[in-house]
Symmetry: D3
Subunit: 239 residues, 6 copies
């Protein structure tokens, strides 16, 4: 099934990211805000900083970083219903919000943050695959700006980025757009620190179960992709 002449619809190499664009300070109000684009996927990441922490953490001397993810109704191919109108948050939304929060907390020193709260909001304006990995990658930049705003840059113990990988027609590929995502036999999201360690690995067999060798190939691709994204985050923050 795997033949060399199979190429991706958008002409990319199998280990190549889509065009990535990181626009800082897209909003006026929050301490940090980033519009991040992975190809046509567009996520608005806002980091709102406030003094104090939730009640259960008061007096601990520790800060708190948390995240919420959501999709605008018209961000998807076919309009999706609003979760506020349905009156409940779906399982997928819950899952991704929790994933983003855990990923960012992996590079935060709660003590150095002090009793401050940073709330990340990742709202998908347009979805074309990889919204959760774009959200994590953009949210890190917004978080860095919010730490600077609070004067606690020492609270960041590293950086974090994320990318999707998958097997399509037997070929491992990096950073799947929607058309590839729906056809993937295996789909994996990998979150890594800038130093090259793993924060989250979430692989799912959509069709056939995958072998250890396939898993290893996907992890290799993800390491490459996260390293590229880390460099782009640094460039954006250097501006």
């Amino acid at each position: 099934m795997n033949s060399p002449q199979v190429t991706r619809e958008d002409g990319r190499a199998d280990d190549e990211l889509r065009p990535i664009k990181i626009t800082r300070n897209w909003l006026d109000h929050p301490a940090g805000s980033v519009l991040i684009e992975f190809g046509r996927t567009r996520v608005l990441c806002a980091a709102s900083a406030s003094e104090g922490v939730p009640r259960w953490r008061k007096g601990s001397g520790l800060g708190w970083v948390t995240a919420e993810y959501a999709m605008l109704p018209a961000s998807t191919n076919t309009r999706s219903d609003r979760e506020s109108v349905k009156g409940r948050i779906g399982g997928r939304t819950h899952e991704i919000s929790r994933l983003i929060g855990r990923s960012l907390r992996a590079v935060i020193d709660d003590k150095a943050l002090g009793e401050n709260t940073i709330q990340l909001d990742c709202d998908v304006l347009q979805a074309d695959g990889g919204t959760r990995t774009a959200a994590i990658t953009g949210a890190y930049v917004a978080l860095a700006d919010a730490c600077a705003h609070l004067g606690v840059t020492g609270a960041l113990t590293g950086s974090v980025a994320a990318v999707s990988v998958g097997i399509i027609d037997g070929i491992p590929r990096l950073d799947l757009p929607y058309v590839e995502d729906v056809r993937a036999e295996t789909d994996m999201n990998v979150v890594m620190t800038g130093a090259g360690s793993f924060v989250e690995v979430q692989g799912t067999a959509e069709g056939a179960a995958f072998s250890r060798a396939e898993l290893d190939a996907l992890l290799g691709l993800a390491e490459k992709g996260c390293a590229d994204l880390t460099r782009m985050q640094q460039e954006a923050l250097a501006e």
Copy 2:
């Protein structure tokens, strides 16, 4: 109470709109989409078109236009909680969604639309006063694009635009940003057709009740503002 030397913080004349920007086709998926800016207020208006109508309208031969309004959590000065997380939509959101829907239906011929549904989503990305009036004004343009997409431009019987007016320090003013809005003694939102008729008039005394003369002055300002917005809508649609 009204003295000539009092000027607005942003230097505008009392009957002058903020800089208005209408960007069409800001999204790839929906039939129509507009990013509209009234100064720093930024609302993303998407018009999703689909064949068929809600069950209660089936077989009537009539179309259906409806709208939902929402604010992103980080759009406001201080972050506001997500309504999906709270599990219920607040009264203000309900009110504005209904207002937008009524305003657009005022210029729609349901019969000419046929059994199609156009769902407007107006999501406030950044709020600086006048979000509902920006939403209506932008949503009309997205609606026009969606009608063209469906091939039913005849379903539009006219255009619709909206603006806020208010009395600040005794002076009637057009298109209030947040700093003026919170200080307004009277606050009015006016929705008008391109032909100069009224669709909605909603005036509220925030402080002291207002006289008939003050009401008349506000209506005059609104007529001027809506006429200006109508011209800008036409220019945007002509591009």
Copy 3:
């Protein structure tokens, strides 16, 4: 379309209110309670007074007046479902509750009220058009009784009354019953103080948009109607 011989189904003049009946102390428990009737529309308005204010207002020295509106299921022509059973309050209910609250607060001096709360409950027992205007008009009387009960009559800076007006078959008319309401091209609710100033003006084009001249005619009718209602409120309170 407008001809002199057109008369209203109930024989009223175009600027004439339906028979209004205000019965004070209809309930034993709350500080103030009024059964108000606008023709066949019957609303039970209760004003429950309690010491203290909501948490966010504590220590301010200011009182708090708020309102909730609801319709009994069998109050309408065709039974409507209970909002408690549906588990959520509809947009219309939210809108009207907020309108009543704002209208009453327009004649309350929060400082003179002191840290007391008055909660208005306006429950529609029977609906025949104009339920929100009946609710406001009756709630004011219940509020006045509750202020007297609390010994803070000075907290009332004036009185407030409300009436609906609309254009039916091209003719502006006062105080619309259901049969007129459903046929109205334009429908407006106006809340005014006893001194003749405006507190709220909410006009909606149900069919065709309305001209400035029509708007002016409706405002004139509303001024007449609110003045009549103010007199009836005074008579009821004088008993």
Copy 4:
């Protein structure tokens, strides 16, 4: 513990009902409506009739009778929060709604009713003990009117009435007002047919558990009270 000189606050004999008042056709819209008063307890019972039955009963040839009970916020001594605002119906409300529905269905022949639905709404306007028994007693009269309205009086196989009984200071008493209800050691609600059979018996030891002898005494009182109520229902329906 039982001494002859102990008398009730309102001067009634231990086996005497409070003044009962049944006002038919209190509302214009529903097929049957009754304002029933047990002393100061006032319940508005409406029976809305409609053709057709819920989906799960379609095609069975059988009708459906159901009931909902609720209390207005200001009906109680101290204002109680609205269940629609809380977003959920409390256990007590659920329990009583189900009790009323079962009680009425006990005297309905579903086949004779045909595929019609009668929805009872029992809304407590003022509460002074015994609201559920007043609701059942009044709802039966509204139900009878609704059956007549539908032309299916044969669907009624009998009548139904209900009363509360309890032991206060060791003395069994009939039809407890609030002041007795809160002090009762045992509290029982009994629903009976006009023919003297039992439909529901719900007895609860609020303080000490009760003996078989006490239970027997309470049942005797309830038989007397229900017989009295049955007579009053007949008189009301004869008018």
Copy 5:
């Protein structure tokens, strides 16, 4: 209709309980836990003890006992939907939770319990009729263990057990399994103390209303059944 040769499907005498099995300490975490079986009905009763009481009871010196009842989805003949998924607790669940709580509080001395809370959870693992009576009977044993765990055995003023009785084909019978329950003309749940007094009597005519004589017969059967259950509870606690 009543003939001597009619026997029960499971061969029991009319006044005979199903095989009862009480297994203490079925769980490791809670202070008391009991798996109780009434024939094939299996209920897991856990009593979680904690210091402190709900806010509204703080400083009173009194303890608090409360209960929640629920059925696992697969416990019933046909799978029933999860109430957590539906987002609301049904009326029947509410009713039974309240009944269990009241029944247990009838044998608790709040003062002797001190400011401690015991939360009973009664989860039906398998349902074959009589789940609420099994729950009460088992919960009492778990409650006794929790009181011992807290060192407040003096807080128990007695024991409590419950059983269902009903009339099937005209014959009063004790402890109905599902097949009898669905055919019962009258269904009654009776909760009694170990000393033979009544705590709750809840009788419902499912088909025809019942006579005083039938009611008396059912109460007699229940007295017998509760006495048997009381003895089994004592045996289980003596182990």
Copy 6:
């Protein structure tokens, strides 16, 4: 940090499972039911089979397998609140329910299942770490019984089992109980087919991020554990 003499609290080898117990047919009603125990973790897995599929799948000829996971309140160390009482399902519950469903669907041939639905309910009776992996492992056995019950054993394309692995004090370990789980630096849940392929890999850095070498070691342990579990599933199904 890693030293040979460090042993596990329960004396197990690092690559050793806890005692596993699989009891089939623990319930009478559902088509398949299993009580599975991983040490003190006890999960009741029920597979309810029914003809037909959800509306959105009708006419496709394909079956549907889905799962719901929940914890009894008293299953945890400290009692946890009921999600039905809170009125919403938490993110963790959603995540695990979705994981179980995906894992089982990985070994189901929808076409061979035909238009039948199998609903898995995994209710945690007692929690001591690894509840989701026990649930998947037990649910597979219940699913196999349900397929046999429906006469569609051909719908199973393989078996599926799951186990947790983690790094504690620098040492990779298999099948973590609660005391190890809370101390783990990295925590991974792995779902594999009986044939040794991966269905899901979910690894999370709880403390420090993990290296590729650590990831590889964990995957090796998981392969060993899943192979052991697969053998036990086969033995249980052979009985």
